[in-house]
Structures are given as structure tokens and as C-alpha cells.
């Protein structure tokens, strides 16, 4: 029996397709289904061409096949509005849900910070925060792991071409969700998030700035070491995650300046913001799979 967990992707858009391409390379996850709602959509056609089963009837079209195809994990790349229903239906059948929407029903997951804990507890729904959150919260955590952080602020700048209609229509959800996760996962007492969309051509690579205000004078050597170590952790699943400048220390302010280049699987390389979401989502599912394989957790029983 294969050690790989079988997966479904809901939402055949840019994110879903990029995720699918990454999944073909995974040692731990095997893509089986792509779920859409429009039979004519390019995304479903692409998935079919790649040899994946598809349904255009939404999650309801997938449900009858879950047990027979042994689907154990699903990635939701649709919208916050439909995620709750998708999750309820699939959780009932014992499918672990990786939520790439801003719905955030389950706990936030930023892999190098708290994934191990979620996997150990077999959380049946984890939320991948936002692209800006995935790119910056590891840095906030790198500082807060050294000493208390009173305030964490992140500024994510993404290219106009990589900011989809969902993000644009619900930009407040980005700022709220990211700020919340800077606190809950990053470990800052108070979080703030800012997103800037830049239309320059050629498109700019995602840039992220992280400012932390520490309660006491920052331990410069320890923070610098922690930041560099955390960058390496993120690079394990996003090789184009780079520390451009910093950490810079100015009184109690600690600032780091990041750049996130994607792998260019389906999404262009400049769209590091989308790539880090798909990579983090897949990394999350892989960790669950590894834990199942080594017997640390047991998947929900099926008849």
C-alpha cells in the first residue's frame, strides 16, 4: 500500500492548478480529484489533461467518491463564503481540510511555526492565513521566540497581476486575518497588516517588510541568528524566500525586508505571494501524511 495520502483540490483556478503541479512532485500526497463548478472551465480541462478525475458539480460531485477513492485530504481554494459548507461535508467523511480561503474556521497554520502541533493533534481543518501572513509571520515568530514582542507589523507588496478578484473584493479580510495571525501565530501582543498592490511592469516580485517592537532592548545577536534560521526553514518549501535586508535594529524596533520568488510552476515567478500559499498548503498536508506514516497519528476510521 502506498504511503501517500490521496487528495482532492477544490477550485481549479490559478491556485488550484499550481497546487496540482506541485503535488505531482510530492512524496507524501497524491492528487486524485479536481473539483470545480463550471464544466467549461480551463482549470478542469487542464486537470483532466493531467490525468486527474474531475467533477463540475462542486463538492457534492466529489462526496460519493471520497470513501471508494480513499480521499484523506482536501485543499479548498475557492472562497470564504462556500468554505464552511465544503469543510463540514468533507470533515463528516473524515477528510482533513486545508483551507486556503480567508474563512479561517480552523486554527491558523504557518508551517515552520505551528504545523507540527496541528499535525500531532490531527486538526481536521487548518487555515493557511493569507499570502502576506505566510511570508511574514515566520519572521515575527523568529523574533518572539527570542524575546517578547509588543507589536508586530507587516507590509506585503504584491504585483497587480498576482492579486486576484477575490483578494481585491475582500481586501479588509486580508488585513484583519493577517493582523490576527501576527498575534496568534507570530506571538506579537498586537498585530497590524498592510497590503499594497503595485501595477509596475514587468511585475515586481512579492516584497514583505516586517517590523517588530520588542518590549525590552532587542538581543541583536540572538534575533539575527533566529531570523536566519527561520529563513532556512521556510526555504525548505519556498526556495525563493529571501532575506534582502536586515534584521535592522533601531531602538526597540527590529525590521526585516524580504522577497518571495515563486517556483514558477503554474503561476509566474513574481507571484511569490500565491506560490507561498500553495507551497505552505502542500507542506501542511505532507506533514500530516508523514505523521500518519510513522504512526504518530491515526486517520479517522472508515468502514
Amino acid at each position: 500500500m502506498s504511503k501517500k495520502l490521496k487528495a482532492a483540490i477544490i477550485g481549479p483556478g490559478n491556485i488550484g492548478t499550481d497546487l496540482l503541479i506541485k503535488m505531482f512532485r510530492s512524496e507524501w500526497i497524491e492528487p486524485v480529484w479536481m473539483v470545480g463548478i463550471d464544466p467549461e472551465s480551463d482549470g478542469l480541462k487542464r486537470a483532466q489533461e493531467m490525468g486527474i478525475k474531475t467533477t463540475a458539480e462542486g463538492v457534492d460531485g466529489l462526496l460519493p467518491h471520497v470513501v471508494e477513492d480513499d480521499i484523506r485530504v482536501a485543499f479548498d481554494a475557492t472562497s470564504a463564503y462556500v468554505h464552511a459548507e465544503n469543510s463540514r461535508k468533507l470533515n463528516e467523511l473524515g477528510v482533513i481540510m486545508i483551507d486556503l480561503t480567508p474563512a479561517a474556521i480552523g486554527p491558523f497554520c504557518v508551517p515552520p511555526v505551528n504545523l507540527a502541533e496541528h499535525a500531532k493533534n490531527l486538526e481536521m481543518n487548518v487555515n493557511m492565513v493569507t499570502c502576506g501572513g505566510q511570508a511574514t509571520i515566520p519572521m515575527v515568530a523568529a523574533v518572539s521566540q527570542v524575546q517578547p514582542v509588543e507589536y508586530g507589523e507587516i507590509i506585503a507588496t504584491v504585483s497587480s497581476r498576482s492579486a486576484g478578484p477575490g483578494t481585491r473584493k475582500n481586501i479588509d479580510e486580508f488585513t484583519r486575518t493577517t493582523a490576527g495571525a501576527v498575534e496568534k501565530v507570530g506571538g506579537a501582543d498586537k498585530g497590524k497588516a498592510i497590503i499594497i498592490i503595485n501595477p509596475a511592469e514587468p511585475p515586481l516580485i512579492m516584497r514583505d517588510t516586517v517590523h517588530c517592537l520588542t518590549k525590552e532592548a532587542p538581543n541583536e545577536a540572538a534575533i539575527t541568528e533566529s531570523v536566519h534560521a527561520m529563513v532556512k526553514e521556510v526555504q525548505k518549501y519556498v526556495p525563493g524566500y529571501r532575506l534582502v535586508n536586515g534584521p535592522v535594529f533601531d531602538g526597540n524596533r527590529v525590521s526585516v525586508f524580504m522577497e518571495v520568488e515563486g517556483l514558477g510552476d503554474y503561476l509566474p515567478k513574481y507571484a511569490g505571494n500565491l506560490d507561498i500559499m500553495t507551497a505552505a498548503g502542500l507542506r501542511t498536508a505532507e506533514m500530516f501524511s508523514e505523521e500518519v506514516s510513522n504512526g504518530a497519528i491515526e486517520l479517522p476510521a472508515r468502514g
Partner: protein, 342 residues
């Protein structure tokens, strides 16, 4: 140019755009003092917010001396006739801030986006319109897009519920012909009931000329700030603009001597530095860079030894937009490393 009897609604920016020039450190007393002076001079609209809009308080843009709530709560009850507006940049502020402003008595919400990204404003413009506020769509850095693109984006904002659209020269880059073309197209193509506005900066010395061109082309609302207190070389200096409109017999409704006195007696004494077209402010206009980058670039020069001018020109070359203040220190560090300074 004939502007005789043309109606012009002036909107003061000294307590919002002026916050940039004061590093957001205007005191509540100074705000109330200036706002009451403007109210007495007949100013119909006064903007009061952090320089970067509601929720702008941050490491990135600067922590203000007081919160938006404190400023608005202090100023609004003192106004006899003037209405108070607040600025909101989606991506920085949220609809929650909008509700807070409305509850404090703000009557006009100005939702600002980069001139090609209007679709991030749907939530905020829609909500302000639903609350029956005077709802303005504010297209920033308008020199970076064609007139047709500006019109397309203006139509989006109009469709979300904005009753007024601004063409905003955030970099002080535009020359009068460009203003005429852009405002003229908006006036010709937008819904006739939608008002048009222009917001200028004086970085190329063109703020008065551009504002006149805007009025002639069909704008009714003109932003400026008393004594020019604003980012970069400041906004259209309102007391000067009022004097010019007076000579042209336009219908502006402001008492010239009173606004001159507010400028001279209340605003100039609190300036941290003269608001003028110095070489860095001129570079903003020349290179087409967001005006509030000025003081950040000067601080980076002092800290890292790269001239503000070199930083601003490079930021312009890279196509940075409003809100990317974090790129200034980042770029200064990169340039200082390249030069072996750090």
C-alpha cells in the same frame, strides 16, 4: 482663462496631508485651532485623519501624536458650518474605521486607491454610500495612467456608489495640459451628477496652475491646504488659490483675509521646516514619486549616507506607488551595501 462665476468647492488638507509634513505630530489643540479658523473663513470641507488615512498609525507611516478618534472627536463638535472628511486607503484602513468615522460625525469619506487599482475600493465605497455619506473615489498617482485608464477606474468607483471622483496628482508631477485632458475626459464621460475633483502637490511649482486648469476642465472640488501644509512641497496653498480665484471672480465662498491670517498666524508658526520646493521635493515631482516619501528619504539619507535625491529617483524608476514607504529604508540599505558604506 475665464472662470467668472464658476463654482469651486475648496477642501482643506492641512490637517491630513499636513500630517505628513508634521510627522503626524500635530497636537489636538493645534488641530482645533486651525479647523476653527478655517470654519470661520468659510471653508466648506476640512479633512482630519492620519496622513495615510484612517488606520494609518504604524511603524511604516508613523505613529501619530493622537488617534484618529481623538482628533475627529475634538474637531467635529467645534465646527459651525464646515463639514469634516476622512481619508481611507483600502489595504491600510478597513470598513471598521469607516464606521468609527461616521459615528464621530464625519460626513465625507474619501476612499483612495492607486489609479489602476480601483477595484479594491468596492467594500468601502459601497458601505459609505449605503450609509448615505458623501462618498468620494480618490484615484492617486494619476500621472501613472492614461486618461482612458483613469476613466475606466473612475467608472468602477462610480459603479460602487461614489458621488465624486478625484484625479489626484500625488507626486506633483502633472503639468496643466495633462490635468485638462484627464479632468476633461472624466467630466465628459462620467455621470453628469458625479462631481469631479482635483488634488495637487506643488513639487513642480504647478499646484495653482493645475488647479485652475482642473476648474476650467470641469472639476468642482479642489483640494489645497492652508499655507500649503502637506507632503512634499505641500498642496495647493489655499490662501494663494483663493486670492487667484478672487481676481478671476470665481465663486469660492471664502473670506480671503481670514484664510490669509489662518495661514500666517496659526499654520506657519507650527511648521517643522519651511514647506517649499527644495531639491528633494522638486525631485519628487520630477521623478513622479509619492509626495509623502520626502521625509522618509531624508531620514534614510541621514542614516545610511545615500542622498534623498538618488533614493527618490530610483524609487520612481521602480514604479513604486503610494504606501510603499517601507521600500525607502530597504532601498537605502541595498544602495549603501553596494557602495560599501555598511
Amino acid at each position: 482663462m475665464n472662470l467668472k462665476d464658476k463654482k469651486v468647492v475648496l477642501h482643506d488638507m492641512s490637517l491630513r496631508d499636513g500630517m505628513h509634513a508634521k510627522r503626524h505630530q500635530i497636537s489636538v489643540d493645534q488641530m482645533v485651532d486651525i479647523a476653527t479658523g478655517l470654519d470661520e473663513a468659510g471653508m466648506p470641507l476640512i479633512e482630519v485623519t492620519h496622513g495615510d488615512g484612517l488606520g494609518g498609525t504604524s511603524v511604516n507611516y508613523g505613529f501619530p501624536a493622537h488617534s484618529d478618534e481623538e482628533y475627529l472627536g475634538a474637531v467635529i463638535p467645534k465646527m459651525k458650518n464646515a463639514k469634516v472628511s476622512a481619508l481611507l486607503l483600502p489595504g491600510i484602513g478597513t470598513v471598521d474605521h469607516l464606521h468609527m468615522a461616521k459615528d464621530l460625525g464625519v460626513s465625507t469619506i474619501r476612499v483612495a486607491t492607486h489609479c489602476t487599482e480601483a477595484d479594491v475600493s468596492e467594500q468601502h465605497i459601497g458601505q459609505a454610500a449605503k450609509l448615505e455619506m458623501d462618498t468620494v473615489g480618490f484615484l492617486m498617482m494619476a500621472h501613472m495612467a492614461t486618461p482612458e485608464k483613469i476613466l475606466e477606474q473612475a467608472r468602477l468607483m462610480e459603479s460602487y456608489g461614489a458621488n465624486c471622483i478625484y484625479c489626484t496628482d500625488s507626486a506633483g508631477y502633472m503639468l496643466p495640459d495633462e490635468v485638462t485632458e484627464k479632468i476633461g475626459l472624466l467630466r465628459a464621460e462620467l455621470n453628469p451628477t458625479t462631481e469631479i475633483g482635483f488634488h495637487g502637490h506643488h513639487n513642480m511649482g504647478m499646484a495653482i496652475a493645475n488647479s485652475l486648469a482642473a476648474v476650467e476642465a470641469g472639476a468642482i472640488r479642489i483640494d489645497g491646504s492652508v499655507a500649503g501644509l502637506g507632503a512634499g512641497a505641500g498642496n495647493t496653498p489655499l490662501e494663494v488659490f483663493v486670492a487667484v480665484l478672487d481676481r478671476m471672480q470665481a465663486n469660492h465662498g471664502i473670506d480671503l483675509y481670514k484664510i490669509m491670517d489662518v495661514a500666517e498666524d496659526r499654520v506657519v508658526p507650527m511648521m517643522d521646516q519651511p514647506i517649499r520646493v527644495d531639491r528633494d521635493a522638486l525631485t519628487l515631482g520630477y521623478a513622479g514619486v509619492y509626495s509623502s516619501f520626502l521625509l522618509f528619504a531624508q531620514r534614510a539619507e541621514a542614516k545610511y549616507g545615500i542622498t534623498a535625491r538618488d533614493l527618490l529617483v530610483e524609487l520612481g524608476r521602480r514604479g513604486t506607488v503610494g504606501g510603499q514607504e517601507d521600500m525607502i529604508e530597504d532601498l537605502a540599505l541595498t544602495m549603501a551595501k553596494e557602495k560599501g558604506l555598511i
